[in-house]
């Protein structure tokens, strides 16, 4: 078998093999790619440490030289297709590493600055009667859980049912309109959602209303489109074969949806819902105008002001007073707690989807 890389002339009758590349034709030696990577990294490191270049150009240069070397080498030895494959591999892995940068940076920042206030008082006390140092976020944690919980209770059923309508029932103008306007809804600025919810509650309760429920409604406006969109995408991926299998067993449509379609798509839906929660749990502007701000406990979402972690964190940061450090510590601490809450939610979603995920093995 020749090791030539060019494609031989085509046989006109299709009935003979084309031949082509031999199995072991032009392979980069094992470890060529990792080796190049190490070399490029070392070169970058040397430039940084010895030649005194800045970190960013060094890293960029190392990455670029790795990609270029591996691509040209592979192209020469293995041919353009394999080279493209390697190129994409490098690109895709690079993209992942790139995405880790801000993540690591954010986490390091928040943890290093937020850890200062990880004491018992912080988690058990409210801010009632606190100025200067000390104080806690118990009231804000509860507020966050209650308001986001309510928003989730409102948005998830509505959002999921709408997605179900769109995928399983939706035909004609209504479905088109809903699909379309749900997308439009994703672009509503959070403050506008807050003002809208406030206006709505003013109509019901008169001017100056502040209550957790109003905050939850505002958040729902922001949350619903994410839930609808992600659920819809996941439902669309469920093969029609499965629906047919269920219908053929005389299962009514609604049961088919509940027991076959939803479980199959559940993992994706759970991820979507957590993303939706994550999107709203950090909102400040809409909550300030609807749920307001208070120093103390209020666990009744239908009456009076309620503080959430994000609002608390924001105002501790914005109006710190003279004891700025104490305030900033609280702000970062609250932010860290907020992140931990979302991470835990994320874990819960993973567990849920693990329990119901399609079992492939």
């Amino acid at each position: 078998m020749s090791t030539s890389l060019t494609t031989p002339e085509r046989d006109p009758d299709l009935h003979t093999p084309l031949g082509g590349v031999s199995l072991t034709a032009g392979q980069l030696p094992r470890g060529a790619a990792p080796g190049t990577l190490v070399a490029a990294a070392v070169a970058g490191l040397l430039l940084w440490l010895l030649a005194g270049w800045a970190v960013v150009p060094c890293a960029l240069l190392a990455a670029a030289s790795y990609v270029v070397i591996v691509y040209t080498w592979s192209r020469a030895v293995e041919g353009p297709r394999k080279a493209t494959d390697r190129f994409v591999t490098a690109l895709v892995s690079g993209a992942f590493l790139l995405a880790l940068l801000p993540l690591v940076s954010v986490i390091v920042t928040v943890v290093s600055r937020g850890a200062a206030r990880f004491d018992a008082e912080f988690f058990t006390n409210s801010m009632l009667g606190v100025t200067g140092e000390g104080g806690g976020i118990y009231h804000a944690m509860m507020g966050t859980l209650i308001i986001t919980g309510l928003a989730t209770l409102i948005s998830v059923p509505i959002g999921m049912l709408t997605a179900i309508y769109l995928v399983e029932y939706g035909r004609g103008k209504l479905a088109k309109a809903i699909t379309f306007f749900v997308d439009v809804m994703t672009g509503i600025p959070s403050i506008v959602a807050g003002l809208f919810a406030y206006a709505l509650f003013v109509m019901m309760f008169g001017p100056g209303v502040r209550m957790g429920l109003a905050g939850a409604v505002a958040l729902s406006v922001l949350m619903i489109p994410t839930v609808v969109r992600s659920t819809e995408e996941m439902l669309k991926l469920v093969p029609n074969e499965l629906r047919e299998a269920s219908y053929a067993l005389a299962v009514p449509k609604w049961r088919t949806i509940l027991k076959v379609v939803l479980p199959t798509a559940l993992a994706g839906i759970a991820t979507g819902v957590t993303l939706a929660i994550a999107r709203v749990i950090g909102e400040t502007a809409p909550l300030l105008v609807t749920a307001g701000l208070t120093d103390g406990d209020n666990f009744d979402p239908t009456d009076g002001r309620m503080t959430t972690l994000s609002v608390f964190s924001y105002y501790e940061y914005q109006s710190p007073g003279l004891f700025a450090e104490a305030s900033f510590d609280r702000a970062w601490g609250a932010a860290l707690v907020l992140m931990i809450i979302v991470m835990l939610l994320n874990l819960v979603a993973r567990v849920i989807s693990k329990l119901f995920a399609p079992k492939t093995r």
């Binding site: 954010v106 309508y165 769109l166 994703t186 509503i188 600025p189 609604w254 502007a285």
Partner: protein, 316 residues
């Protein structure tokens, strides 16, 4: 499409069992409820914007009328959201690919989780991080860019000395929308039928060619859907942009690295609303209405793109 509605055979209507009727009713109701809520938002926006729409030009902040006031905002909104998406979508698709097809199977799940963590970061933290950590880091590269690539309008300079530039706002937005897009796209890739992947590999496709033949087309509608989600988020993001961007009205410019930047609509509302009164307040809502309309138009275009190849949908 994956929809499998029971098209009524001939003229007669299918009798529905109560369970079906209730379920169909409730889910249709939810959809309608969303429309009603949205209509509510629209009515709210229009009524609150009305005084500004009808006010004489000199009453609008800036004194030159609504169009002059909103145009820079609109420009800033679009340029930041679009460029953020230009960065985020390819990156998100690449990351989703990495997690589903490149990373060792044993750790792929964990990697997905790590990216999801980015979604756990609230926007005010992105704001704080953007102005305190990211912005200072960009100062030197930005001045390098303006020195060497200054002929590109994006890098015209003069570079900001604090780094609180449009470039940083765009990066922050891109990072914010990244996990949402990644998660949805990743899910679609995981669902790509094994059969189709095998079909591609069996004709001698490399991994990348398999992805191009099977995974990307299958995930196409999800990618667009996810991008729409991301775009919406980027268009509407409020607090992070407000905190990160050094914005001043009148700064219509493609220059991404100076201190003078057009504000975005959402951030501008958040910034100005607390101290806005009368027509000023109505003007802000009017800008919100414009954002609403823009989202509408952008989505119309995206829908048109998706529907063009509906027949080739992956679920069939």
């Amino acid at each position: 499409m994956a929809s499998s509605t029971e098209a009524p055979p001939r003229k007669n209507r299918v009798p529905r069992r109560p369970g079906d009727r209730i379920f169909a009713g409730v889910s249709t109701g939810s959809g309608v409820l969303i429309l009603v809520a949205l209509a509510g938002v629209a009515v709210f926006l229009v009524t609150e914007a009305w005084p500004a729409l009808t006010a004489p030009a000199e009453d609008i902040p800036g004194g030159q009328g609504l169009v002059v006031y909103i145009w820079p905002l609109l420009f800033g909104t679009l340029i930041s959201a679009v460029l953020a998406l230009v960065i985020a979508v390819p990156l998100a698709v690449a990351i989703a690919l990495f997690i589903t097809y490149y990373a060792p199977r044993s750790i792929a799940k964990a990697l997905g989780y790590i990216i999801d963590l980015l979604a756990a970061v609230p926007s005010i933290i992105f704001g704080l991080w953007g102005m305190n950590v990211l912005a200072p880091v960009t100062v030197d590269p930005a001045s390098w860019l303006s020195q060497h690539l200054g002929w590109i309008p994006f890098f015209a300079g003069p570079p900001s000395s604090t780094g609180r530039t449009m470039l940083v706002a765009i990066i922050v937005l891109a990072v914010m929308v990244l996990p949402i897009i990644t998660a949805v796209v990743r899910e679609a890739f995981t669902q790509t039928p094994q059969l189709h992947q095998e079909a591609a590999l069996a004709i001698g496709a490399t991994r990348w060619e398999m992805i191009r033949m099977a995974a990307l087309p299958f995930g196409r509608s999800s990618i667009i859907g996810a991008s729409m989600l991301g775009l919406g988020r980027a268009l509407g993001e409020t607090m992070a942009v407000a905190m990160v961007l050094s914005a001043s009205a009148g700064g219509i410019t493609f220059n991404l690295i100076s201190s003078e930047n057009p504000p975005t609509i959402a951030a501008n509302i958040a910034l100005q609303f607390p101290e806005a009164t009368g027509v000023g307040m109505h003007t802000l809502i009017a800008s919100g209405l414009v954002l609403f309309a823009i989202t509408l138009v952008v989505n119309m275009i995206a829908r048109a793109v998706i529907n063009r190849r509906k027949d080739f949908d992956g679920a069939n």
